[in-house]
């Protein structure tokens, strides 16, 4: 019996009878982070980090029992030692370490190796078997440092402001929206948010995350103070009636997919290459740092990354998942006014 198995419900630990980020309702679920394709509705019991809990609670409501632990704190279930370690993906995101009789497996969840200044930075965890994501598992994906991308975003905003335009930047409501907000040059103008970004901001601010003021872009404040300001909105908002309230605006999209010209500029004016997932170099560094003998590759360019690892002398295989990694549209689809 392997320590972790790949089942139709998700990654399963038979010894402890727990699932990791299950995609069907189960009895007990360990959750790496609060994105909707990982923290799914319907299970009876959830365990996550303290920092991830408020968002998960906000999304799942008061029905299920949600417990939390600190990074590095161990829980033992039927002899299996379980702990959560920083994944650097979003606030509270974790890799999950599972140990039984001296054998260690780590499930990466979603991760990135660059310190984004708001998530607890990624820490490699030694293990025998590493289950890694590979959303951007091709060498064409190599990110610039965050500060350079933020400079591009600020320059773009400044230019639009000078022309009297509103800048609307599209970013995932949980994670990238806060990351951008945190490093905007607020000397340029006022910042507003779409409702779904604002509600996530409130949850994260209540747990101590410091963000510049960014009120919801309501019909009222829009009329008075919008010219030259910047609005952070989820990608779907671009295709909703919401966007029509702005008169003269320029749109930007923040996503790892913007690295390629064929995905860049599909219906927006500017693309910014900004991702909460590891790039090619990040994936390779992370795998090497675990010292794992075996690597399983989930979501993204799985077959390519697995073959590459095999050629580097690391045993690797791909496994299918129902995780989505980073997409140009959020799965959540929470677009509210």
């Amino acid at each position: 019996m392997a320590l972790l198995e790949f089942t139709p419900n998700g990654i399963y630990c038979p010894q402890a009878d727990v699932y990791i980020d299950p995609w069907k309702p189960v009895k007990r679920a360990l959750i790496t982070h609060g994105h909707a394709d990982h923290a799914r509705w319907g299970s009876k019991y959830y365990l996550c980090t303290h920092q991830a809990k408020p968002v998960i609670q906000y999304r799942l409501g008061n029905g299920p029992r949600i417990e939390s632990v600190s990074y590095g704190e161990a829980r033992t279930i039927n002899g299996v030692k379980i702990s959560f370690h920083p994944a650097g993906h979003i606030v509270g995101s974790a890799q999950i370490r599972v140990e039984h009789q001296g054998e260690v497996w780590v499930v990466s969840g979603d991760y990135k190796t660059e310190n984004d200044g708001i998530s607890t930075p990624f820490e490699p965890v030694k293990c025998n078997v590493f289950i890694t994501e590979s959303t951007f598992g091709l060498p064409v994906f190599r990110w610039q440092p965050q500060r350079e991308v933020m400079q591009e975003i600020n320059d773009w905003w400044r230019e639009n402001a000078a022309e009297g335009k509103v800048s609307i930047i599209m970013a995932y409501a949980l994670g990238k929206a806060q990351r951008i907000l945190r490093y905007l040059d607020t000397n340029i103008g006022k910042v507003f948010t779409h409702g779904s970004v604002e509600s996530v901001n409130k949850v994260l601010q209540s747990q101590g995350l410091i963000l510049p003021p960014a009120p919801k872009a309501s019909v009222d404040n829009m009329r008075n103070a919008m010219e030259g300001s910047l609005v952070i909105a989820p990608p779907q908002a671009l295709r909703s009636t919401w966007v029509r309230r702005f008169k003269d605006y320029s749109t930007g999209m923040a996503s790892g997919w913007m690295a390629m010209r064929n995905t860049n500029r599909r219906g927006y004016d500017r693309g910014f290459v900004l991702s909460d997932h590891a790039d090619w170099d990040g994936l390779n560094e992370a795998v090497l740092a675990t010292g794992a003998e075996k690597v399983f590759v989930t979501h993204g360019y799985t077959s390519q990354f697995a073959q590459w690892l095999n050629e580097q002398g690391i045993w690797a295989a791909e496994i299918g998942t129902e995780f989505h990694g980073e997409q140009l549209e959020e799965e959540d689809g929470e677009v509210e006014e």
Binding site: L138, P139, V140, F141, R142, Q144, A259, M260, R261, N262, R265, R266, G267, D269, D281, Y301, Q304, Q307, W308, E311
Partner: protein
Amino acid sequence: MKDFSQLFSRLETSESLEKVAALEKYFAGADERNKLWTIALLSNQRPRRVVTTATLQRWAREYAQLPVWLFEESHRVVGDIAETIALILPSPSEIRDFPLSYWIEIVLNLGEKEEAKQKEAIFNAWSEMSKEDRFLLNKLLTGGLRLGVSQKVLVNALARHTGLDDNLIAHRLMREWSPVEHTFQDLLLDGEGDASRSRPYPFFLASPLEIEPHLLGEIADWQVERLWDGIRAQLIVRQGELFVWSNSEELLTHKFPEFNTLLGTLPDGTVLDGEILAFRDSLPLPLQDLQTRIGRKNVTRKSMQEIPVIFIAFDLLESQGKDIRSRPLVERRELLEKIAPAGSVLHLSERVEAGSWAEVRENRDKAREYASKGLVIRRRSAPYRSGRKRGDWWEYKVAPLTIDAVLLYVQRGEGQEAGSFVEFTFAVWGDEGLVPIAKTEVDLTEPEKNELTAWAKNNTLERFGPVRSLKPEHVFEIAFESIAPSTRHKSGITLRNPRIVRWRREKKAEEADTLERLKAFLVFN
């Protein structure tokens, strides 16, 4: 090259007006060498290809230490070789920003070096360039740098930048020049001649006649001529120089050296309106031939012999240096007849003699015998107006030809249209089965589209990239303006402006038309 790469991305995305603004802004900040090279690139004067994409790809794999298969996987996802290379190279430790002209010098010098030296120089360049700049350099190296800018946009931007007149800029850009031998000053600022000399008048465009012609009133009030399928143009002779302008405001003088003979025969201060036609053995050639000739970079003796051209004049706008557009057509015609024809390349548009509207209609129906599109009917008392104004000039086009053809291939769209088919290929029966004869847009109703899409998915025989070949089953009526022989097509013919009229559900594939019947239309051409 950061400023140039910013310009490049703005030109890729924006509308004409924004393109002009982006160029103007770029020209304001660029030095003379960079301006000149940018104008050269925008006018399709690219440095020659230095290395093949295959070689560049091999070097990139070596530099990035990646296996062939992984490069190919990456290329499949990215879609462009120059871009794939730019992306897979490790990030530079330090980015140095050299101007466009610096990189072009490097590319020009590389041509003479041996391969090992070329590789070394390219590795050095890659090691200090941003991804965007690498992409542009790779495009320059492989001779594939193209910017989506029309001559008109470039001219507008340069006019704004220099404060000179549009027509003057267009005229000066038409000269033989090279970014290596000339300066910005030589090219645009020191040129001789003033703009008003070459300036055309705004074109008056005919409107399609959608009513029966007899509703236009007395036939005696109208002048009827043939409607040619060529390039509408004004031919200008002023102060001993000749200019040819198309109605899309492109200066085409240099494309038609044969018109220069008219300098001796046409009086100075003459502006003719007419149609340029490819013309041989007293018959017009298909428009496609004319476009092929214009599309070639250089006009050679050979192309002039293969595709001779004429100018069919149908109006006179300026006579003895005077603008006569406000005078009635009948007077302008009288003056026109005095000066045309003049020489073998200038024909007079002949009047179609018709005593009744019924005769006019008969004549229109015979349009194909003259390889014309139909008739143009113009009011004899009308001035020469500008733009498309209804009332005085009418196009009375011949009814399209139609055939029944079998749907053979469908092509999937890209980007937003990735889920649907955007192009159909139709075929008719030849001696050895179906022969493709036309590609059309998918002009069907939504329910028809959905039905056909679902059917096509289940009846695909083979797939070639975005194209599927289908079981020959569905028959469509296809309309087209005219047919011409073609050596480039398997069928031996090409149809002009083919489009779907309707889906003929009642017909079986076997009942579609034959290539033989289609070729029978050729006798008119």
